[in-house]
Symmetry: C3
């Protein structure tokens, strides 16, 4: 796994609602972790009891403590061993009985962890609209793909006409020219699309009048967040996709869609949720096929054209962060995309 | 995989009848290919889109072209990229957008490919009787075995009494001496068996009178074809088995049985087809067991006796072809086999 | 696999009752074997026909001989090839047609083998009571675990309160101090537990009065045998667990419980058998989790405390046997365990 600056960042480990009384096992950048709750907040420990090496995530929690399933060794949220059953209770040998702990926090519906020991990084900065009239839908999924491939997929316009044919774009009409502007952000990069008419396909027809003008921006935010924003008619949708590398070949997606629409939120939710499910499965299938083919051919060998607007900057910004270099930008770029 | 002269040969990739409107994925000697039809004949491209590396075999065909499932990059039968949706249609960047193509042809019921780029080899020379009164039955199957093990199995007489006990030979009677003559052919080797009486077992009883005299020849033809020919009474059967290496451990069989019998073809077909199925499954099972045991023991370590008449020549002829050396023969050999 | 002195020992390959007319395949210390019966006793051959390398265990036995499934090569219990069908029966080429044979014997309900060729070791010395009033129950199982981990599990008292909560110990009462004495045996080590009251939980309640005093000893015997002995009230139970390394990561357990109780044997059998099944499955599950976690973390990194009384001696005695060194002991040790 990548082991430089990218490993000293916050990643979403799971939804808040999924971490309850029982510990959870989650792997982040190749580091197997067990997550559990304490009164001081979520805790993340290395998922291996130092005694006989079984996963601590098989154990049980009570009183802010996690007890190993095999011999009952018991740990607090900092990874200190506070009880070894069978030994005189007052005596806990030092040092080698503790387990490594990792920074963890709960924020906006998710449990975040940093998979490198040491001081915690600054709180995650990504935001989305949560004010009056906005509703949120959360969704998590695992892709058999690298983070880079998953980010490119999420922030790519042309694939929607093929992978999601009939849902977004690709209704058979003549291609339409769209102006694209690529701008660097602080810790990211953004592509703004202008001149796009209402998307063809089911989702577009549901959300807007035929003559509606679309405002559309795709953003990449370090370390591995994709944000897609649409305004059309009086609708506003921001989809924030936080990708968590599990291993080099598997990536978890934790996404939240925040929307403000003229239709009641419950109606949008009921209509969009099953469509979003279809879209995510179509993406998961193509990413898996890509991943297996890359493995079969012994490595990726992509070809970029000028319309793969964010693929290059995503790779460069992530490599720079991993090496501890400052983020570099190319200045504003303009191009035309046909869709 | 073997990568010398053996890779510059024609191999059967699939049956003609199985390649229709949708592209097919087939791997030949470790090379993943996508096959599709054009008006100029079958086409075989490397099964990886140069853009994002997904398998082209997931795509769809129309107008002699193959369109990638992910972003719609479109290729002709020579592997040239002729359309990149999203880019101005008139502009296709050179060079790196194309995909490697391989020689392919359609012949006598099969699609053949050569898994090495470059000039196509001479057309496949193997023949079988197709004239008046002859009928053909085709069958394809995948074995978990090396090509060498599959060829030896197909051209081996003694195993029939054990693996196929009761179907061909091995009916409990006393062993019978058969004269075997081994002769070199142009690009192959042949064993002719004389003095064999009607095979015991169901298939024999079905085809001939008890006192019928059998004429039987087993042939190996480069690169990896096995041909078994029987004449008994007024029946004539030629089974041609073309083996295609998928990987070192998997081999596809594409077989055609051509027969001329006193019984109506439909009757023979109805009787022989299920029996052939049983025979092929018995062989597949023993080859899989052999293959797994060889892997478990870290490699093959065969022992040959003088009755393994074709095993040695098959290996030697294939190694000579792979190294580009002329085929050498041992002159005619005679021996006695008990069966 | 370990390949020194530990490989020149007897290991249980299977139950006597399971080796009947058909050959059995069993792997011991990475050596694939086929077992079959002859009138001179059980035979163990390397599970690979020298001809085409298929497993001999697919074959069939008759008249003290084993016949290969593929071409019928036939072997006696010493591994000599005595028949090659197809060759003139009187002629069997020397040397390379035979297969390696291994020492095998049948003793007290089990077939034992030594996975190293050469002179057989002295007969297995382990014993258990079989006299008047004693009954035996046999059980075999495969664990995904190393022999060391399986031995530690079987001879470990503290885990019973957690892995088998409610069945043996761990009924919620205050911990009780038990005196433990660790003594070296000839070719082993023993821990004797004194002051233990009747175990809490179902099995304890079934077997003894509340005020019963428990005599309890745990023994390790080279090369890989664990023996647990309980006396309480007038009950006497000796559980002998013979572990057979299949590979580094898999271990077979062949256990016999010998018991003398005040209740009728049939009643004890009916009550204890399903409970033992539950206990073994709980142990199998935790051992599998340990094994997979150790693999995921790239190797074991255990921490021992003074109450892991037998873990250290087991490892040391086994390493000494493997290197051919004499067994060393530490003299008698005393400690207190809370349970």
């Amino acid at each position: 796994m990548i082991a430089g600056g990218l490993a000293r960042q916050w990643y979403v480990a799971c939804r808040s609602a999924h971490l309850r009384q029982r510990p959870l096992a989650r792997t982040v950048m190749g580091v197997p972790l067990t997550l559990f709750r304490t009164s001081a907040g979520p805790a993340a420990l290395l998922d291996r009891c130092p005694h006989r090496n079984v996963p601590l995530s098989m154990g049980r929690c009570s009183d802010d403590l996690l007890e190993c399933r095999y011999h009952g060794w018991t740990f607090n949220g900092s990874g200190d061993c506070v009880r070894i059953p069978g030994l005189d209770g007052s005596t806990v040998p030092g040092g080698r009985t503790g387990v490594e702990s990792f920074a963890a926090l709960e924020d906006r519906g998710w449990i975040w962890v940093c998979p490198t020991a040491g001081p915690a990084p600054p709180r995650p900065a990504v935001t989305w609209p949560t004010g009056d009239g906005y509703s949120q839908v959360y969704r998590s999924m695992v892709f058999e793909a690298t983070v880079q491939a998953a980010l490119e997929n999420t922030l790519d316009v042309p694939h929607t006409a093929f992978v999601h044919r009939g849902l977004f774009r690709g209704g058979g009409r003549a291609p339409m020219a769209i102006d694209v502007t690529v701008r660097h952000l602080d810790g990211g990069v953004e592509a703004v699309f202008e001149g796009e008419s209402r998307p063809a396909g089911a989702i577009g027809r549901m959300l807007a009048r035929r003559e509606a003008v679309v405002e559309h921006a795709d953003r990449f935010l370090l370390p591995s967040i994709a944000q897609v924003e649409y305004r059309l008619d009086r609708q506003h949708v921001v989809i924030t996709s936080c990708f968590t590398p599990i291993s080099n070949a598997r990536t978890a997606l934790h996404a939240v869609a925040s929307f403000h629409t003229t239709m009641p939120a419950a109606v949008v939710r009921a209509l969009v949720t099953p469509l979003a499910e279809v879209v995510l499965r179509q993406d998961a299938r193509i990413l898996q096929a890509q991943s297996r083919n890359v493995e079969r051919f012994g490595g990726p060998r992509p070809t970029n054209t000028r319309i793969d607007v964010l693929a290059g900057p995503i790779g460069r910004l992530r490599r720079q962060m991993d090496r501890g270099e400052p983020a570099s930008g190319d200045g504003e770029q303009r191009l035309v995309l046909y869709t």
